[in-house]
Point group: C2
């Protein structure tokens, strides 16, 4: 590519960054200008708020107050309190989200509880011909969801049925108990039709569980507005909660009294310090709790969520689409023809906040990209993933990433 043409793209990136109302948010993160970090869809960057807050939690709340902090420092209620803050970003009114455990564990709670509700509904219909014993699973799902769904099926006497997400709405039938789908495909970045699949599942009498790992914090989800039953997600990608930070569970308010958890720990008891041998579940979102919450990680996440102060998900979505559009156009101009192929949808309505490029020798190409300061990741067998986090990714980052990718592919081509 000519130097002029590169200069044009660099200038265009500068113009876009100048006009970006979210640009100043980058200051809220620990980032260095040497690196273009496009792996926030795997591990979000560190918000500056986390380290001082965690130091306070450790030194003062644990170190000095010790056991008193469960009450005095608000530890005990953190799962619901932080849950409400996550809820704001996924369109859930307060009182429906609880933070804790891993995504996998929350998928298990949600799928088993959803099967129980769907089967109870079917019995309530007094129609002996309806046996809800099928769990429809997005066949392109992140593997853990599929493994856990099969385990939930085995333990509840259901059959798992994997299907392409695009066929799920049409396939939901009278046998379907639960539909488990990823909002955004982790590999391709494809955004699935949450309103349509949810409506189809509900119309057929099934319940739906959405995995929001790759959409929460990147685009509007609007769980309440679309009548979603259950949702789960991690907090270490676009929510920047830190490595392995606790996941969350959304249980729609109207289902909470019927939420019958397969993991009824003492933290979800109506009177946890009554130490009652008989389980009596609490009301509300905290019925999704299990054991003692992991306070250090939970409060690190709470501090990380401060970066969202004054930010709307709608503004993030607008910038995300502009960033991925711009990146794709830079790739088209910087990368030698035919060397990469985007597997991420071109249509905005079907695109998450990442761009995945299929590429020969993708593992080696990504290793070289990282060596040259452009951090994305590689997914077998042949995918380069570039995640765009509008809170801290600039248009200049997008241009540089595409430019370095072009250089790497030319160099690899020359060498190999």
């Amino acid at each position: 590519m000519s130097e002029n043409s590169t200069n044009e793209l660099v200038a265009e990136a500068a113009r876009l960054d100048d006009g970006d109302e979210l640009a100043k948010l980058r200051e809220r993160f620990a980032l260095d200008d040497d690196t273009v970090y496009l792996d926030g869809n795997s591990l979000g960057a560190l918000p500056h708020t986390v380290a001082p807050r965690l130091a306070e939690v450790v030194t003062h709340e644990w170190g000095r107050l010790r056991i008193r902090s469960w009450d005095e420092s608000g530890w005990w209620t953190a799962p619901e309190r932080v849950g409400d803050r996550v809820g704001r970003l996924i369109g859930a009114a307060p009182g429906q989200v609880v933070v804790g455990d891993s995504t996998s564990v929350n998928v298990f709670k949600a799928v088993v509880a959803a099967v129980r509700i769907a089967q109870e509904d079917a019995r309530g219909d007094n129609r002996g011909d309806i046996v809800r014993d099928e769990i429809l699973v997005d066949e392109t799902t992140f593997p853990t969801d599929g493994y856990i769904a099969r385990s939930a099926a085995r333990l509840t006497g259901c059959e798992p049925r994997p299907l392409p997400p695009g066929e799920i709405a049409a396939a939901v039938g009278p046998r379907t108990a639960v539909v488990l789908v990823n909002h955004v495909d982790y590999r391709t970045g494809r955004l699935h039709d949450l309103p349509g699949i949810t409506a189809a599942a509900r119309a057929a009498g099934a319940r739906v569980v959405w995995d929001l790992c790759h959409s929460a914090g990147a685009l509007p989800v609007d769980l309440d507005a679309h009548g979603v039953d259950f949702a789960v997600g991690c907090t270490y990608k676009y929510l920047n909660g830190g490595p392995g930070s606790p996941a969350y569970l959304y249980v729609a308010r109207e289902l909470q009294p019927r939420f019958d958890s397969p993991l009824p720990g003492w933290n979800s008891h109506a009177d946890p310090f009554g130490m009652d041998p008989a389980y009596r579940p609490a009301d509300g979102a905290l019925r999704g709790r299990v054991g003692t919450p992991d306070i250090l990680s939970l409060l690190a996440l709470e501090a990380a969520l401060d970066v969202w102060d004054g930010v709307t998900v709608e503004a993030v979505r607008a910038k995300s689409l502009a960033l991925t559009d711009f990146f794709l156009s830079c790739v088209e101009r910087h990368v030698p023809a035919g060397r990469v192929e985007s597997v991420s949808p071109a249509a905005h309505a079907e695109r998450g906040s990442q761009v995945s490029l299929r590429c020969l020798d993708a593992a080696a190409v990504m290793a070289e990209l990282i060596r040259r300061g452009v951090v994305g990741d590689f997914r077998r067998p042949d995918v380069l993933r570039f995640g765009f986090t509008p809170l801290y990714t600039s248009f200049a980052d997008a241009e540089r990433a595409a430019r370095v990718l072009g250089e790497v592919l030319r160099d690899v081509g020359e060498v190999g």
Copy 2:
């Protein structure tokens, strides 16, 4: 009590502290001399190693290396690495303990997996008359174990059968699939007969799951030596891992190839980054993993375990018994007759590392104790709990706690 007599006890405490080879370990913890902290059986005190290590993890490993830390900083292998360090304290040879999730979630994994193994054994015996469909549960258990055992029973078609721990060994029969018992009772501090119950369960063809929450780090457990099948425990009591720090799961080596987890997350896959839709479990302890490990809490725990450098559990146990003996004798001399009654066993072989005293108005008495700098806790309806952590509790602490308890009871008696 006379001033002379108090002086004698204070002098005796000083002599005991002078002769205590573990006394210098107290320096490894953030403790102040104003407070006698006897609630380490609920939340262990803060080791000085934690804050600087956590700051490094956040600022350098997450903040600068970001995604690279999964490999370069050893994040990915932390659950097994930290598991081996916990293993050393509970008599488990390397490769059998994995850290992650809460105790409740680990009870669920262990009980369901144990039922599956016991039922498979019974089928292998080709004896059609043996149906292993019963889960014997310690009826004095910490509530969460009972709730989770009942959930596991419901999902596997078993019956839960609560029994006093002392009756379990005799009650194990041909229908028993699993026995779930607490090593030390959270309320009374009673130490149950791990070798005897384990042997009885195994002899009857059942599998046994031990909850070590109140014994690990306080006394020798010797899982391998006693042929235990499964064990779980938390790390925030005598292991000082911090509020809600991750729990652990022990799966005896010979059972690992048969460990069929009800929570088969992607982290326990033989090839996690293969992203294979078909689940194929990893070998070894890491088969007990589920989702992405919670790194901040896990590495805080790892740093906290440094306080065990050069310390044996046997020395800790010897001091623990000396401390609780001394506390009981101080209580006898400081506390007005008839005002408290110990519900902790007098026999060393049956005593954990806490002393529980039944007392009228126990909630108010504990509140006043805490106000006067002696921190234990209250358990309904009438129990004062005092936990002794030999790594940082001194004989002077024990004497002062008993003395202040006597003062409080005299003052409360005068007022009320």
